[in-house]
Structure formats: C-alpha cells, structure tokens
Amino acid sequence: MNSDGKDLRTIIPDLREIPLAELAKLGGSPLAQSITLYRKRLQDQRVPRNSFQAGT
C-alpha cells in the first residue's frame, strides 16, 4: 500500500484471463483507453534503447 493506503494503479489492463477472441469485443472498454494512452506514449517517447559504452 502506498502513502494513500492503496496499491499503485497501472496503465495496463489485466488481460491475462481474457480469451484473445474476446478482445475485439471490448472496443469501448478500459482496453481502448489503454491502447490510446500507450500509442501516445510510443509517439512521444518511441521505444528508447538504454545503451552503455565504456572505453579506456
């Protein structure tokens, strides 16, 4: 629990128990909101690579 007394909410819907064939029927659901949000994040930040280089 956090300082507000709650677990942290994430932006990813829990899809583990949902049959894949059912996903297409969930257009107006939190899944659609998460998709919109994730797409925006990809547009804003792309998928960065964390690279490290050292030489002596």
Binding site: S3, K6, T10, L15, S29, R39, L42, V47, S51, G55
Partner: protein, 583 residues
C-alpha cells in the same frame, strides 16, 4: 469487466530501493504479458487486408488463441523476442507497412511446437531458414518465400520436404547429438551453489539488435564455448556475492545478445524496454565485469518494465547532466541512468569486501565511491526539473534514501579522491561542451574586465543546456588515464608516461607545479585550450583551501568564454586573475 494491473506498494518501494524480489519480478512479468497481448491485439485490428503478410499474422493470432485455451501461451508472451518484434510490427503497420507481420506466424508456431499443440500454418522462409524464435531454426531447400509447417502434436512436417520430432526442436545446450535440418539457439545452463540460470545466446535475431552491431551470423571457432564459460563464471560471482540481484535476474533474464565493440578496449551493453528479459553486451573482459554488466543492465530491464506499467516521467524537452554520459539526457533516460548506477554502486559495494588483489580492491572501492555519490544529486536535479509524475517523485524519494545509506559507508580517502577527480573531470568536460552562455553578456563582462571595472558579483550571464557541442573539447588521454588509474591500474602504469607535462604533474599529485604548467599554457596560447582549462580546475581542486577551486569547478565555461573575448594582451590573459575578478 477489465481492471488494470496493480502493483503492491511494498514491491514498488523495493524496486525503487534498487532491488525488487521475486514477487516484484512476477508483477512486472504479469504486466508485460498483458502489454504484449495488448500490442498483438492492436496489430490484429490493423492486419486486415489480403496481403500474405497480414494473413500469416492472423493465422498466428488464431493459433495463439488456441494455445491460450490450452494454457500454453505464456512462454511466448514471456519471450523477449515477442516484445522486441511487436513494437516494430505495430510501428510498421501504423505507417501502413505490413512487411514483417508474418514473423508472428513463426512465433506462434514455435510456441505450438514447444507445447505439442497440433497446427498447420504458412510461414515465411528467410535465407533458407524458418526461424522458430526462442528455439532455433530449420534449414530448408526451397526457392519459395513461404512454406507450410504442419504439426500433429508429435511430428513437424516442413513443407513436405522432411519431418522432425518436435521434441528435438529445442535450444542447443551443447549436450545433445546433431538433429538433421535443425540448429538450436545456443543455450547456457549456468549452475552455482545449486542455483541455475538458463539463458539463450541470441546472436542474430533481427528484432533484438538494439541498432548496435551484433555478432557475426556465424560463431567463430571456440567463441560459443568462451561465452558459455564466461557466463558460468559470472553467474558464480553473482550468486555468491550479489544474490539480491542474481536470483530475480535469473528469473527474468532469458536472453543474452552478444555484441561486438568497435574497438578492442571498448565495452558496450544495451537493453530495450520493448524486450523484457533480454540483455545485450559485448565480450566482457573478465567474469566480474560481466557480472557487473548483468546487474547494471538488469536495472534497466526492471525499470523499463515498471515504467511501461506506471509512468514515472512526464514528456519533456528538458535536458540534464548525467554524470556517466557526455551528452545531455532527457528525464526518462536520466532516471534509467540513475537507477542503473544505483545497481552498479550496490555491486561494487559488495565487491570491495571480497576482492583480494590490490588492483581489484582499488577498482571496487573507487567504482563504489564514484557511483554512489552521483545518485542523490542527480535524482534531486531531476526532481527540481519538474519532469517526474507523482509516482515518479515517490520513486525518486526512495532512491535518495537508498543513496544516502550507501554514502554513509566509509571508503578509504585515496579511493574517494580518485573518484571525485574522475567525476570532476567528467563534469567539467560536459560543462564546456554543453553549457551555453549568452555571448553578448560574456563580451560585456570581458570589456568590463579590460577596463578594470569591479567584478559582476552574484549576477552572472544567463546559461542553458545545449544538446550540441558548444565548445570543441574532447575527453582526451587525461580523462582516459583518470579512469584507467582505478579501472585497469596495470594498464595505467604503462600508459601514464604518455601523458603530457602538465597532465603528468597532475596525475602525480604535484598540484602547484601542475597549476603553473596549465596556467602557462593558457597564457601563452592564442588558441582556445579547453583541456588545459579543465586540467587547471582539477589541479586547483587538489590543493586544500585553494580560494579559486570553487569558481573553477562551477563556472569554468563562463571564465573560458570571457577569456576568449580578451584577445592577446599579455596582462589580461592570466586565468587565475580573471577568476579572482569574477569571485
């Protein structure tokens, strides 16, 4: 009813402190499974046309649905290859490009072959191979770009050309006999103290290439065996001395991508938030360095997964100083770097207690001293920049608490001063490169100095961070020697004689002579001498109670720029005199 994933506060706090046990890794993995499902669903909504690439994707998607009903699809959702590919696939199809979508068919086929699920699919052939991600590849002789794979649960029929027992289509751990038409992906099974780390060596998978040079497609003779041994020895270091990182890492990291560094003494390593569970690295020079690299990169793996679940940074154009890079970094990259260096500090903090060779002890102590000291100030700078979300600020607060705990641990003075000097050299090099200062204001100050007017007091010209190199300055031999002095002391002892006169004095601790030498060089040269200015600042910093060390350490770029406006008048070219005027 769909609900979002939730992360228990204790797991969040444990991750923020640099650790994160098996529970936290389990939560991150569960989130990645849903994220990968969501990405595939996003692609499936767009992969609708008659193009064979889109059709192959849909067949794979249908097969994954069947695997899910059998409880056999988590293996694929956990495979780093899937996340790596899905981000490329989604970006491509959103631009209207279906090329590469058929790759998902071989992913689903690999999962079905592994679980013994019957299927029939058309899959792409590339360079005479049908790649089965996470398993290996089939060699086929065909001119066609496509081939049908059919599996009855036991046997895989490859386009009618040959059949293979699906139980033999597995990664190659080096123990089994050759399988006709099959090359298993090299698998390393490292065992130490009864604990096992299984990891694939994925040298040529296109969606895990990190845009860095990968290994050549063919393993050179003996190279694979060398990697197996190095991973085994690194695992022994990790499990015996860094179990806080080793146990969760072995649970999460299933792929190592070997890279080739451009130069012999360079090391490169990388991760991508898209590919949870994969770490790329060039050949590590010894098992301890490999262990450190794994700890370092595993920090990125954890944070990447966490940030895909819970945004910790806000989109921002602000750039900040990162004490480990010579380019300014945006907020998310800076937070990644901070977190990675917390892991590095924890690693060397433990390592300094177990090393026995004097050079290795020195390396561990200085590495510990150097990286623990940057975590809190860099995190505070990030917080002050206003680039963190509310959860990001909570994460940063916990990071700072952990950093303070590390900073309280005593370290011998020699190691502390070596670490501080390397850090100052880095910061000053960055400052000269990227701290831009109002040109008109510095010219006005130069005029005032020339006219003998009083100094400006606390009101200094406006400055800002510039992504470009503002002044031409290289991290040259002195910077390399300052790092070599503790990273590879044996090499340092051979190379230090190549340092120029002033740098040699600095490195020998002859501070006052070094100050004179750098000062003379700046006064006598009409060309800018950024390396000499940094050297002068370092030499001043070596002298206790030196009155100008602080202004050189914090305002070097300003003094340098004003000096550049002064021209060739001898009486005006003394950098110390100029610093006194500014103080």
């Amino acid at each position: 009813m769909i609900t979002e994933h939730r992360l228990p506060w204790a797991e969040f706090e444990s991750l923020a402190a640099g650790a994160g046990g098996l529970d936290a890794i389990g939560s991150l993995r569960n989130g990645q499974r849903s994220l990968h499902t969501m990405l595939l669903h996003m692609i499936s909504r767009l992969a609708t046309g008659a193009d064979p690439e889109a059709a192959a994707f849909r067949d794979g998607w249908e097969l994954l649905g069947r695997l899910q009903l059998e409880g056999a699809h988590d293996w694929l959702l956990d495979l780093p290859h899937l996340g790596g590919w899905a981000h490329y696939g989604l970006a491509g199809i959103e631009d209207g490009n279906v090329k590469g979508l058929s790759h998902f068919a071989v992913m689903a086929a690999a999962a079905a072959i592994r679980s013994g699920t019957p299927f029939e699919l058309g899959v792409p052939v590339r360079d005479g191979r049908v790649v089965l991600p996470g398993l290996g590849f089939l060699e086929v002789t065909t001119d066609s770009r496509w081939i049908r794979l059919r599996c009855d649960g036991d046997t895989v029929n490859v386009g009618g050309h040959f059949e293979a027992d699906r139980r033999l289509l597995v990664p190659d751990d080096g123990s089994g006999p050759p399988v006709p038409h099959w090359s298993g992906t090299p698998l390393v099974r490292a065992v130490a103290d009864g604990l096992t780390w299984q990891v694939l060596l994925e040298a040529e998978y296109p969606y895990l290439d990190y845009r860095l040079p990968p290994m050549p497609a063919q393993w050179a003779a003996g190279a694979l065996e060398k990697w197996r041994k190095r991973i085994q020895l690194a695992w022994e270091v990790l499990i015996r001395h860094h179990s806080w990182a080793a146990v969760p890492m072995a649970n999460a990291v299933s792929v190592v991508v070997p890279l080739v560094a451009e130069r012999k003494n360079d090391r490169i390593s990388a991760t991508s938030p898209a590919a949870f569970g994969a770490i790329a690295t060039s050949w590590p020079p010894d098992p301890v360095i490999m262990a450190e690299t794994m700890v370092h990169e595993f920090q990125h793996v954890k944070l990447g997964a966490l940030m895909s679940l819970i945004p910790l940074t806000e989109p921002s154009d602000k750039l900040e100083y990162a004490p480990w890079r010579l380019d300014p970094r945006p907020a998310d990259a800076l937070l990644h770097g901070i977190y990675a260096h917390l892991g590095i500090a924890l690693f060397w903090g433990a390592q300094q207690e177990i090393e026995t060779d004097p050079d290795d002890i020195l390396r561990a102590r200085v590495q510990y001293a150097r990286w623990r000291s940057v975590i809190e100030p860099t995190t505070r700078a990030l917080m002050q920049a206003g680039c963190l979300t509310e959860d990001g600020r909570r994460f940063a607060d916990r990071l700072c608490v952990r950093a303070a705990e590390l900073t309280a641990v005593p370290v011998p003075g020699t190691a502390l001063s070596m670490a501080a000097e390397a850090a100052l050299d880095h910061r000053l090099t960055w400052q000269l490169r990227h701290q831009a200062i109002d040109v008109g204001a510095t010219a006005d100050l130069a005029s005032a100095y020339r006219r003998g007017e009083p100094g400006p007091g606390p009101e200094l010209p406006r400055s800002w961070t510039d992504r470009r190199d503002v002044r031409p300055v290289e991290a040259g031999l002195r910077s390399r020697l300052l790092a070599m002095r503790y990273l590879t002391p044996g090499r340092y002892r051979k190379k230090v004689e190549k340092a120029d006169h002033a740098d040699g004095l600095l490195l020998a601790g002859k501070s006052k002579k070094a100050i004179r030498a750098y000062r003379d060089r700046i006064i006598s040269s009409l060309d800018p001498q950024p390396a000499a200015w940094i050297g002068l600042a370092l030499a001043l910093n070596q002298v206790p109670d030196e009155p100008f060390k602080n202004i050189f350490a914090t305002q070097l770029a300003l003094i340098f720029d004003i000096h550049g406006h002064l021209g060739s008048e001898d009486g005006l070219r003394d950098p110390i005199h100029l610093a006194r005027w500014l103080t």
